[in-house]
């Protein structure tokens, strides 16, 4: 880290006068002074995608940060040419967090940075939008949740299938699924199968390589800062940028990348937003300690018998429904074994409306539909699977204490050591 340089550059003047945004009056009309502002940390892949690299009258892009000078330069140009804004550029994320012109910090780095950055942004009084998976460990997720609450921040975890769009191959939005499950027509407990056969793709090509040869770090990349809290490993380009998901130090392959997309809506559908499974069972080859490998299946069980089954590659039953209960099954495209299900659902209440406009939530200070609490719970399911995979054994979990039961090695994975000087 070039933190010394950072300190010098900022000099002795009042460093961080974090002015409360003027926009919090709850007005619907957006006057220029009511415009929110955001800064993006990590403008490599998703951070510079059309989905997020935006600037408009409701929220202006004011700052970007990256430890790769090429990414930073490209994003700066893009901001100017495509969005017509001049942005402040930073190498150190702490500079962006301290920038008084930033209301919302959007964290689009690899996951090993999410926890630290989200906590620091919350401590600095910023609202946070964080890419999935929320954090790389269960312990980091808990710290993010605590810091957001303690500082009264608004947090959005950025996956959206619990309230918007048909998700992946399922061919339906979540709302009718939730209504069907709530109606009790399928019975209880329920089993949800997430596999290629039910329309989901675990992207197993996101695996790591063993035996990486050390390479010269390119001059545009500050590799030490890219690693940050992760253990030091000699540079190889496969560890960074598009392929970092293949290494446990930074992420957890397709499971960690797609997992929260797929599992978060299931937590919502099953009404499990305030709890976690009590058991995770894995069927997988023993994983390499550094490079992420593939797996055959991961099964989660809740205390009431509900299950989430992740089938890897083509291991699942091709006839498996997406949701199965004692009284009925539901397949993709909302095909249901209960005849005339749409007509029957007319007799039941709709799911409660969700708050899905993040900027509106920031203005009115109300929790976003997918926030630090339910986001932490769905990230925890992903991370339970990661722990069981890495250890190669089944694990019992206490959803209140958020610890594994009777497995010290597993509990060591809940909080993993960070490289000095990183802490959370």
């Amino acid at each position: 880290m070039k933190r010394k340089e950072f300190l010098t550059a900022m000099g002795g003047f009042a460093l961080f006068s974090i002015v409360p945004s003027k926009v919090l009056g709850g007005q619907r009309h957006i006057a220029p002074s009511d415009q929110l502002t955001k800064g993006i940390i990590g403008v490599g892949g998703i951070g510079r995608s059309a989905l997020h690299f935006t600037s408009d009258e409701s929220c202006r892009l004011t700052a970007i940060c990256d430890v790769d000078s090429k990414h930073l330069e490209a994003a700066k140009q893009q901001a100017k040419e495509k969005l017509g804004v001049n942005v402040n550029t930073y190498h150190n994320y702490r500079d962006l967090i301290c920038d008084p012109n930033v209301d919302i910090v959007h964290i689009a780095t690899p996951p090993h940075w999410h926890g630290i950055m989200a906590v620091e942004a919350a401590n600095a009084g910023k609202d946070v939008m964080c890419e999935k998976p929320m954090t790389r460990t269960i312990g980091e997720g808990r710290r993010v949740m605590e810091a957001v609450k303690q500082n009264g921040r608004i947090f959005r975890l950025n996956t959206w299938f619990r309230f918007q769009d048909t998700f992946y191959g399922l061919g339906t939005t979540v709302e009718p699924l939730k209504k069907l499950v709530d109606s009790g027509l399928l019975g209880w407990p329920l089993k949800v199968t997430i596999s290629g056969h039910t329309g989901f793709n675990w992207k197993f090509f996101w695996v790591g390589k063993e035996n990486l040869e050390p390479q010269i770090v390119p001059s545009n990349l500050d590799y030490d800062s890219w690693l940050g809290p992760a253990p030091y490993k000699p540079y190889n380009e496969h560890r960074t940028h598009q392929t970092f998901r293949g290494y446990w130090d930074y992420d957890g392959g397709g499971l960690a990348d797609m997992g929260q997309h797929y599992i978060d809506p299931v937590q919502y559908i099953l009404g499990k937003d305030n709890t976690s499974p009590v058991l995770v069972e894995v069927d997988a080859p023993q994983q390499h300690p550094d490079a992420v490998g593939t797996w055959r299946s991961i099964k989660y069980t809740y205390d009431d018998g509900c299950q989430i089954i992740l089938e890897g590659e083509d291991n699942g039953d091709p006839k498996a429904p997406y949701i199965e209960g004692p009284k009925g099954k539901l397949y993709k495209g909302f095909e249901c074994t209960i005849p005339n299900v749409m007509q029957r659902l007319l007799d039941f209440p709709d799911p409660e409306p969700q708050r899905t406009d993040f900027l509106e939530c920031v203005r009115t200070r109300q929790k976003f539909a997918l926030n630090e609490e339910n986001g932490f719970r769905s990230a925890t399911i992903v991370n339970m699977g990661v722990c069981a995979l890495r250890l190669g054994r089944n694990l019992k979990f206490d959803p209140v204490r958020m610890k594994f039961i009777g497995d010290d090695a597993a509990n060591q994975l809940i909080d993993q050591p960070m490289r000095t000087p990183w802490k959370i």
């Binding site: 290629g196 030091y232 000087p421």
Partner: protein, 927 residues
């Protein structure tokens, strides 16, 4: 080197404490020496399962300390790399010995690592080895590791490792007392991570002149282990920073330390500490202070929270409201209202009362319904519905059908509270209220309102009438069937859809008897009116209804409507009926076939049957969207034949993407499809793919090709090469073959004969042969397999008669109990019986050689000659019956005509008769 070393940190390890015990072993039961055992183990790691993995660990550990040293010394410096397998083994060993069940191996590991650390002169290797002690080391190891703290390169990893070993607190304190400025950052984090007490004074001393990173570490440690002194120090520091976030992160450390006191409910300290925070300009610090106070004082903090509601910053107010929720009794609710009941904040109170379901502020909430602010009124509606008080709900009645209708509707259709009364009241209210109420019934049923809605269907107000018809489905139940049947016949055209929807709703749970009654009682319906019922028939989906629809389809006047209904029925049993009408209905063929393949895909039919259906429809050359749909369905068959069919559509731009995706999604799940044909296809597809996931798919293809590249390729032995044999099938392609390449597919380097599918079921050599030696291997994958080798045969005829067929048959299967001797495996079918082979169990490979020279035929199976004869002698030269004579028979043993028996030359073939045969290593020598 030094710079790199400073960064060397600790690989994540997850190990437990264990006790040492020593075992010595030089060689194992298989007489392997240590280096061989280690090399063997390295080759087998990572193992496929835990049991094997553990076995390998034991094997390595039983080589003793020496073996561990030997293994560790294979490591190269991290900056050189290439250590993955060795690191994997060492990590695995540490994990293994950390299991209490494997305690006895602990000391071997520990001694071995210590020796290796001393032996190697490379600091990077030392650093890695030191890190392995994490958590499983013992006191002896701690003393050993303490020496390495003096080494600048190894200090960080040594300190972190020591700190991770239980019971090392004293050692950390010793190291702290004798620290150098360079070590302090790491030591401070070690102290914090292990909550080592009595370190406060040392830590505070370190702050003097420390760099920013060390300050951050020390403040952090003080927040974890500190007491009163730290509190004073951090309080002053945070205050000097004006509670801003900075590089020392001192403010956060201060808040964390206060949190410790809050957990202990130390009211004095927390009140004192938060007093200034509450006055800070930093909103998040105000909120943090409120959190700490609530944590410490519980309901005694309510006064403070109520005071915070006066804050002009919305962030603070909303946080205070959130913290107030657990204490929301009637007094608190009243206070909240009192404080917030001002123009800019009243909406916050209104929403909050709903969140906490406060039932004591009803008048206040009801008063808000006439507010001038849209936001306030909307919040009041939502809160009143959430609270669910009967009178409160009723209060929203005047707003039915106003600009708040969408808010009311959303609240009422999702509430679990009893909302009926207000809907009934609205149905009796003004026209505007009636319409609004019926708008809600459209989305959430309320059968008791049936009579009211029926009455409104007769309203003279056209809008009320329209709304009533739309609401009909929300109030009808199964008892309404008769009423609805009659209504559908007489109702005005514009309401037909509404009555249909209501009928479907009422029949949603209907028994077969009720359905049948509905259809049976339908009488005297004119042909003009009849189509109104088609939608219902389709919905009822029973045989009586379908018969009615088929009748409707046959009549020209009702054809279109009946067809629409037929095509909407979700019933896979209807598939073949649809195909039959579709093939004869030129005008509607395309959409009928579209539905047909949809139902086929949904059906439980075997994959090959489905493919046949798809091929039939593709053969009709439908529009691209139908083709694409079918190609998508093909993926579900997960078959080789599916790949081949899809591949025909790669050249057409309109279907190429779907075909490419289908092929990738089948091929990559079937590594056994590893012939050249698949490889070529996948390489071709890499260039074709251009959809959103194309980049990933290309990677997937590359990975898959690597996997299947390892497939075996058959090569001739030197002997056969010298004799002049030629390979006809080497496991990769069918280039030297013609005929049914859909039925004969390559899997894992074998030809797999799949079901009788498409074409004629025979595979022929491209060339013709007369005298030859033909060798191959075959394997039965299921009982009762039947195939045969045709020789000297033309194409497209039965080789047994128009050439010769050397039988391939699992003749021991009970289904062949009645087999004749000239039909058993190896027989020249119908001509020369073979000696009956006793086959090994299913799934075993057998060798076969067919020697054919002139009339001499010899068949050898698994080294045993089972046929050795002369075809001319076998039939006395009479392959066919003499002409002209009644009842004349040929001279062959089966007495049938074999007109091709004496062919001079022809193809060699496999004569398919169903699934389950594997063939490999096919080669031929011409004589």
């Amino acid at each position: 080197m030094n710079k790199i070393m400073k960064k060397i940190s600790v690989v994540v390890a997850f190990l437990l404490m264990m006790t040492p015990y020593i075992i010595n072993a030089q060689t194992d039961s298989r007489n392997r020496v240590a280096s061989t055992i280690i090399a063997d183990a390295l080759n087998m790691l990572p193992a496929n399962d835990k049991t094997t993995e553990d076995k390998l660990m034991v094997e390595i550990l039983e080589t003793g300390t020496k073996g561990i040293v030997e293994l560790a010394m294979m490591l190269k410096p991290a900056s050189v790399g290439g250590n993955a397998r060795i690191e994997y083994a060492l990590d695995g060993l540490c994990d293994f010995v950390s299991d209490p069940a494997n305690k006895k191996y602990g000391s071997i590991m520990s001694d071995g690592l210590r020796k290796a650390i001393e032996k190697t002169d490379n600091d990077e290797v030392k650093a890695y080895l030191i890190s392995l002690f994490r958590g499983f080391g013992n006191r002896k190891d701690v003393d050993f590791l303490s020496e390495y703290v003096k080494n600048e390169n190894l200090a960080e990893v040594a300190i972190k490792t020591i700190a991770s070993i239980p019971g090392s607190a004293r050692n950390i304190v010793d190291l702290a007392e004798n620290s150098t400025p360079g070590n302090r950052k790491v030591l401070a984090y070690a102290i914090a991570d292990n909550s080592i007490r009595k370190t406060e004074d040392i830590l505070i001393q370190w702050l003097d002149g420390a760099d920013v990173e060390t300050q951050e570490a020390v403040y952090y440690a003080l927040s974890v282990v500190g007491g009163e002194k730290s509190l004073k120090l951090l309080s002053a520091k945070a205050k000097s920073l004006k509670y801003n976030y900075d590089l020392t992160d001192a403010t956060a450390s201060y808040v964390r330390l206060l949190g410790k006191y809050a957990a202990k409910k130390d009211t004095a300290v927390v009140e004192n500490g938060t007093a200034k925070m509450l006055k800070s300009k930093n909103t998040n610090i105000n909120i943090a202070a409120m959190n700490l106070l609530v944590q410490t004082k519980g309901d005694a903090a309510v006064e403070m929270l109520l005071k915070s509601l006066k804050n002009k910053d919305k962030q603070v107010r909303m946080a205070a409201l959130d913290l107030l929720k657990p204490y929301a009794d009637s007094l608190v609710c009243a206070d909240v209202v009192k404080v917030l009941n001002r123009k800019n904040t009243v909406a916050e109170a209104v929403a909050w009362l709903g969140d906490v379901k406060c039932a004591t502020q009803m008048q206040f909430l009801e008063d808000q319904l006439v507010s001038k602010s849209y936001e306030v009124v909307a919040a009041a509606i939502v809160s009143l519905v959430n609270i669910g008080d009967k009178d409160g709900m009723m209060a929203i009645l005047p707003l039915f059908g106003t600009e708040y209708q969408s808010v009311i509707k959303s609240a009422l259709i999702s509430t679990k509270n009893d909302y009926k009364e207000v809907v009934y009241a609205a149905l009796e209210g003004t026209d505007q209220q009636k319409i609004a109420a019926m708008n809600i019934l459209e989305s959430r049923s309320l059968p008791p309102a049936q009579n009211m809605v029926k009455r409104l269907m007769k309203s003279e107000n056209q809008q009320v009438k329209d709304a009533a018809y739309k609401a009909l489905k929300g109030v009808c139940n199964v008892g309404s069937a008769d009423y609805l049947r009659e209504l559908l016949q007489t109702v005005a055209g514009k309401y037909v859809e509404d009555v249909q929807a209501a009928t479907m709703k009422s029949m949603a749970n209907a028994t077969p008897a009720v359905k049948e009654k509905y259809v049976t009682l339908l009488k005297h319906v004119s042909p003009e009116i009849m189509p109104r019922y088609y939608k219902i028939f389709a919905y009822l989906n029973d045989s009586l209804s379908i018969t009615k629809l088929m009748a409707g389809y046959k009549s020209a006047t009702t054809r279109d409507e009946a067809l629409d209904a037929l095509l909407s029925i979700d019933n896979v049993n209807l598939a073949d009926t649809l195909y039959n009408i579709g093939i004869n209905d030129k005008a509607n063929m395309e959409r009928i076939m579209k539905r047909y393949v949809y139902l086929i895909d949904k059906s439980e039919r075997p994959a090959m049957d489905k493919l046949n259906s798809y091929r039939l429809v593709l053969g009709l050359d439908p529009k691209a969207d139908v083709k694409n749909q079918i190609i998508k369905y093909i993926e579900a068959t997960q078959s080789y034949q599916g790949i081949i069919i899809a591949s025909y559509y790669l050249d057409d731009e309109e279907t190429a993407q779907q075909a490419a995706n289908t092929i990738v999604n089948i091929a990559t799940r079937h590594p056994e499809f590893n012939g050249q044909e698949i490889t070529d296809l996948l390489l071709r597809i890499k260039d074709i793919l251009n959809d959103g996931d194309a980049m990933y798919k290309r990677t997937q293809i590359d990975e898959h090709l690597k996997k299947i590249a390892k497939a075996p390729k058959f090569e001739l032995s030197d002997e056969e090469k010298a004799e002049g044999f030629v390979v006809l099938f080497d496991g990769t392609n069918l280039d030297k073959w013609v005929g049914d390449k859909n039925g004969y597919i390559i899997q894992n380097g074998n030809i797999y004969v799949s079901a009788d599918y498409g074409n004629e079921g025979n595979l022929y050599t491209a060339e013709e042969y007369s005298d030859f030696v033909y060798r191959f291997e075959f394997c039965f994958m299921r009982p009762g397999v039947n195939n045969g080798v045709g020789i000297r045969t033309p194409m497209h005829v039965d080789a047994a008669y128009y050439g010769m067929e050397i039988q391939i048959l699992d003749h021991d299967d009970p289904i062949y109990a009645g087999l004749r001797e000239y039909q058993v495996h190896g027989s020249v079918y119908g001509v020369i019986p073979a000696k009956r082979v006793k086959f090994p169990e299913l799934g075993t490979w057998n060798t076969e050689e067919i020697y054919a020279k002139g009339d001499h035929i010899r068949v050898t199976v698994n080294g045993e000659v089972i046929v050795d004869g002369d075809i001319r002698k076998a039939c006395n030269g009479r392959a066919v019956a003499p002409e002209g004579k009644k009842n004349a028979k040929s001279g062959t043993v089966d007495q049938s005509n074999h007109p091709g028996l004496f062919n001079k030359s022809g193809k060699i073939s496999f004569c398919g008769h169903g699934e389950g045969l594997l063939i490999r290593n096919v080669r031929v020598k011409e004589l």
